[in-house]
């Protein structure tokens, strides 16, 4: 259970994609996302699936890592897919039963929607598989830097993100521990009606909140005692300038999303 929660956990293989600039990787993710919403023809979904697979291979990752990230979402995907098929409008009727109508347009629309969401998750997972949480928040800070002009607390924001990401595994372990302790006191988390089961989580949630607040307090004190003063004038330990390799990768990404743009412009 514990291992499924973390969607696309960082998998260091040391490939050049892992080493590439996190800022450009995040921008690339946005480019891919936009392209997925731009395309009109279905065959391009397969093109983007192929691109994702190439990235996966270049990052020296196994496809099973991707699938593991998708597993918890399969139910939602299939559910929306079926719902879309049954209730979308269209002219060419294929099958009808009461209010349920299956049309050719509906089928195509559902397929497109399904591919879109799946590919979105795949690309996002590729980013998190190849970028450590720390790099990720550094990258986000870099991406948000222009917002400093409008007084947006970029550094604080990215620090919050880093801390949140950092504590996910800790919280998962904590839940496991508290769950065991309550089970030893007779709590039962796998039986009973839905409301009963929801109620059963109170003995886990309350101790979890309390220890989290305690931990947050301790973290704040630890940071202050090491003279953390916020983002003002703070320098970075890891300084990474984008090099030629990073720009080359980015150009490759631009080239990869180009067909989507062409397809969009052609359909106008």
């Amino acid at each position: 259970m514990v291992n499924d929660i973390i969607l696309g956990q960082y998998m260091p293989t040391g490939s050049f994609i892992h080493k590439a600039s996190p800022k450009l990787k995040i921008i690339s993710l946005f480019l891919f996302t936009f392209s997925l919403f731009l395309i009109k023809d279905s065959y391009l979904y397969f093109y983007f699936l192929a691109v994702a697979f190439i990235i996966l291979k270049l990052a020296r990752l196994r496809a099973s890592y991707l699938l593991r990230g998708l597993k918890p979402l399969i139910f939602i995907f299939v559910f929306t897919f079926v719902l879309n098929i049954m209730f979308s409008e269209g002219d060419k009727l294929l099958w009808e039963w009461g209010i349920i109508k299956i049309t050719e347009e509906g089928l195509l629309y559902s397929f497109k929607f399904f591919m879109k969401v799946t590919l979105l998750v795949i690309y996002a997972t590729l980013l998190t598989l190849t970028t450590s949480p720390v790099e990720l928040s550094d990258g986000i800070e870099d991406c948000l830097r222009p917002l400093k002009l409008v007084k947006f607390p970029v550094h604080e924001f990215s620090l919050m993100m880093t801390i949140a990401l950092r504590f996910i595994p800790t919280l998962v372990m904590e839940i496991d521990k508290i769950k065991r302790a309550q089970e030893a006191r007779g709590a039962n988390f796998s039986e009973g009606s839905l409301t009963e089961r929801a109620k059963n989580f109170v003995p886990i949630l309350i101790p979890l909140f309390i220890t989290s607040f305690k931990r947050a307090d301790e973290l704040a004190i630890a940071m202050e005692s090491r003279c953390y003063m916020g983002g003002e004038g703070r320098t970075r330990f890891r300084r990474k300038k984008d090099g030629a390799a990073d720009y080359l990768m980015f150009i490759a990404v631009l080239a990869a999303v180009f067909p989507a743009l062409v397809n969009f412009l052609a359909s106008l």
Binding site: A181, A184, R185, P207
Partner: protein, 289 residues
């Protein structure tokens, strides 16, 4: 004292975490252990030596990969003689490390009552169990109606242990009950544990890093290293075996080491001293005092 009865017996028990995954990690190898009635047992050993895993097996929180665990406690097994997990949970009260982290109710009373209620006791029985457990742990009746989070760490720990005791277990298993407590509270705890055995005829299994308390409280000590029990026996047997303690880097009792060094210089010891007082007495005997 009544005849000693085996309550839990472990035979050749092995356990591996995350079996079949890349993160697989073997924690226990062929452990044999018997827990008798009204006996205090201490497990000592390094972090990662398998103590906590062993403790969780006793409570059926984990199931061994091989070997068998038998609970010879009334009412734990079903008609076929197989242990029922929920019944094991209540018969073998397990108190985790830092049990204060499991407290969640609005008042101390409610929190201690959680266990008995889960066992399906009515309010009268529950109240009786709560008061008894609180008294055993030396908790004032006044604090029973306070919110638990106003209490000090040591008291909160007593509340958490009372929560387990309220389920009326036959065996109490404590994972490092004294971690993070000041010396005075530790002494208090040691007395409480002895009191529990006296009053309830309870067997106590505890994991501890404090060798002095292990020596003072236990009937039997098991030393663990790398998932195996490497040394066991009553405290005197264990702490006199300094070579073995050294081999597995478990630590020594200072008095036992001094006794060994002095006996190398001609001072005779009738028994291995476990405390400073015993050491002094033994040395003085040599001078006819």
């Amino acid at each position: 004292m009544s005849v000693k009865k085996t309550l839990i017996s472990l035979k050749n028990v092995s356990f591996t975490y995350n079996r079949g995954l890349p993160t697989e990690c073997a924690a226990l190898f062929g452990v044999d252990l018997d827990i008798f009635s009204s006996e205090i047992i201490t497990l000592i050993g390094h972090t990662g030596s398998g103590k906590s895993t062993l403790v969780q097996l006793l409570n059926s929180q984990q199931t061994p990969d091989s070997g068998e665990i038998k609970w010879h406690i009334e009412g734990v097994c079903d008609a076929k003689g197989l242990p029922v997990r929920r019944r094991v949970c209540s018969a073998v009260g397990l108190v985790f490390q830092y049990p204060e982290d499991q407290v969640f109710e609005e008042t101390v009373y409610e929190d201690i009552a959680f266990g008995p209620r889960r066992l399906g006791k009515n309010s009268e029985e529950t109240e009786k169990a709560v008061f008894k457990a609180a008294e055993l742990m030396g908790l004032d009746k006044q604090i029973l109606y306070k919110p638990p989070f106003e209490l000090s760490g040591g008291t909160l720990r007593k509340v958490a242990i009372a929560g387990v005791l309220a389920m009326e277990p036959r065996v109490l298993v404590l994972d490092e009950p004294m971690a993070g407590l000041d010396p005075k509270s530790c002494d208090g705890f040691a007395k409480l544990l002895l009191g529990l055995r006296e009053c309830l005829d309870l067997s106590i299994v505890m994991v501890s890093h404090n060798l002095e308390y292990a020596a003072a409280l236990s009937d039997k000590i098991y030393c663990m290293s790398g998932g195996r029990i490497v040394l066991s026996g009553d405290p005197r047997e264990v702490f006199s075996n300094i070579d073995k303690l050294e081999e597995f880097q478990i630590g020594f009792l200072p008095s036992a080491v001094i006794a060994r060094d002095l006996s190398g210089r001609g001072i005779k010891f009738e028994k291995t001293p476990l405390t400073a007082e015993e050491l002094a007495t033994e040395i003085l005997k040599n001078y006819g005092k």
